[in-house]
Symmetry: C2
Subunit: 357 residues, 2 copies
């Protein structure tokens, strides 16, 4: 067993949004200090952090000073520029490691990695040229969706093909960027497994949660998910296989489609995940603490579920309903401290907790 | 219903120890920023606070700047100098208010207040002169304990009387400070009720916890306490009576002795309390958030208990046992980020959680 980082050590966190904020609180609970690196001003994570660096990911001096002031580096989002990672990695350990980032930053690499592991994904084809686009549409059919392979986030850089004749305009929308054509999947539910792997290789997974999206953004996650016991076990084992294959350290979100033919992997996120927020009020050790435990070398904590939970995101003006939620029995509130409630902006979430069914 | 302070408002917290630290985290969860005022360097609360003022309670300039930068003031300990309170109160609301502080800062005022409410305490007598000491020992008998009326904390400023003949040396130990002689109580258990009262007068109490002390410091709190249903109800009603009588706003810890003759009030603390730490893993809304809700004008949250919990304090070298606790199923860890593990110093606590019995 590796000795964990000593109390008082500093955890560097790339990204100062709500995930960084909840990671910083978890770090404090384990006796660590959090140092946030974030280009934008007044990031939500700064309210609960020991230190804040406001600088871009191109600022080599700021990156170097940040790395020198911390003991380990982790992140709340996966699209960190490669040049920044190269510099940081030369100075301090980055956990989860580069392999997980490389796979999750590129949709073709991600699908290839998953298929090579023997896991099923939506049908897909790599598209870099007009000829490849024609071949891809022939292989996948329509409807389908064309996405840039890199930096995709919440529906940006995507074009839908309702029918095969949309191929040309969709390809043009990529503006020459390498892309991937993905077929649609007939699924009965989307579930996600929040899994963790420690520095010592120990793997632990939370009970799968069932996700409902609205306008492309996660709306609710419900535990328990409506899965048969065998599916539940499949989901957890599948996630463990991914973490082990990547020699992963930290928490990962694995999104799965439930289909009549079995479980398909939709996407993986090498970080704490919105669909794991229910763990804050459903488990003795939540996903944020589990992540900090992993990256600092602690043994993983007990992630077993003591309660049923429905997590609901409050997006934009949803926040005006808070006074009602605040009075609800069994409802826990988690605000992100964002000043302005813009449409589509995640402002808070609530966890509605009930005794385990 | 009063409108709560808006998201982004600043909560001023007097005291930067572990209670201030956990209050700061709760403030963030409700979208507020915490500003800590603490004379000592590197206070535990600063790691998770938006701002820190390092200054003494005699520094009028620092107190004034602090008050001007916050929207409401609360505190993690009750022995704040009166001059500081006078200055702060002239600039911003202090919650809980002065009446609660006046009562809890003076043992004679506290006992008088409780007895006037019709509540039973240990037998006591005020002692300011040698003559009063003689009369007090005649009234109370021995064994008994003589304490200074003000600034008592964890056994400081106290002298035990094993027999009546110890009276003279005990009185001398007070060095002329006003004191109180308290008789010993034959109790079967010590329980505490963590109760909250909102700005709107709503009262809510957590399930009473049962306390075990070691060497004068709280060792464990267990919920449920071994109380009969009628005693449980008495304990909660009694606490509510105290909060209402003080027009109290915030969380209060009420320590009670269980005796064959009924419940006796041992002492009250106008703040979040060590014996309420179990709420962090036993309830949807913990004592820290309940306190922040009260002082910012939110409705009180649901403090009903979803689990059985045993809270254990880790004092001094106890901290070396953390690696074992970290592996225990159902165990949640809360470290305070203190650099040095001195004997008698509270370093962390753990909550051992089990399904509700």
């Amino acid at each position: 067993m590796t000795k964990p980082l000593p109390s008082g050590a500093v955890i560097g966190i790339l990204g100062g949004g709500q995930l960084g904020r909840m990671l910083a609180v978890a770090a404090a609970r384990l006796g660590y200090k959090a140092h946030i690196y974030e280009p934008a001003a007044n990031p939500p994570a700064a309210d609960v952090a020991h230190a804040l660096t406001t600088a871009s990911y191109e600022d080599a001096g700021a990156l170097r000073a940040f790395a020198q002031s911390v003991d380990v580096i982790t992140y709340e989002f996966e699209n960190i520029p490669t040049s920044a990672l190269d510099l940081l990695e030369s100075l301090k350990p980055i956990r989860p490691g580069r392999r997980a980032l490389a796979v999750s930053q590129d949709r073709v690499a991600e699908k290839t990695f998953l298929n090579d592991l023997g896991l099923t994904t939506a049908p897909w084809a790599s598209v870099e040229t007009a000829e490849e686009m024609t071949a891809a549409v022939e292989k996948i059919g329509a409807p389908a969706i064309l996405k840039t392979t890199r930096l995709g986030y919440d529906g940006k850089g995507q074009a839908r093909l309702r029918e095969a004749s949309d191929a040309e305009s969709a390809f043009a929308a990529m503006q020459g960027a390498p892309a991937i054509l993905e077929g649609f999947v007939n699924f009965t539910a989307e579930v996600s497994v929040i899994a963790a792997r420690g520095l010592d290789g120990q793997v632990s997974a939370y009970d799968p949660g069932e996700n409902i999206h609205r306008e492309g953004i996660l709306h609710t996650t419900t535990v328990p998910a409506t899965l048969r016991p065998a599916q539940r076990q499949d989901a957890v084992l599948l996630a463990a296989r991914i973490l082990n294959a990547l020699d992963y350290v930290g928490v990962m979100g694995v999104e799965l489609f439930v289909t009549p033919q079995g479980l398909l992997v939709n996407e993986i996120a090498p970080r704490v995940h919105n669909s794991g927020h229910w763990t804050q009020n459903g488990c003795a050790v939540d996903q944020f603490e589990q992540h900090i435990r992993a990256v600092t070398g602690w043994p993983l904590g007990d992630g077993s579920r003591h309660s049923d939970v429905v997590m609901e995101n409050l997006i934009g003006d949803d926040i005006t309903r808070l006074p009602d939620y605040a009075r609800e029995p069994g409802t826990a509130i988690h605000l992100y401290g964002k000043a302005e409630a813009r449409p589509g902006r995640k402002m808070a979430h609530i966890n509605r907790v009930k005794p385990r069914s």
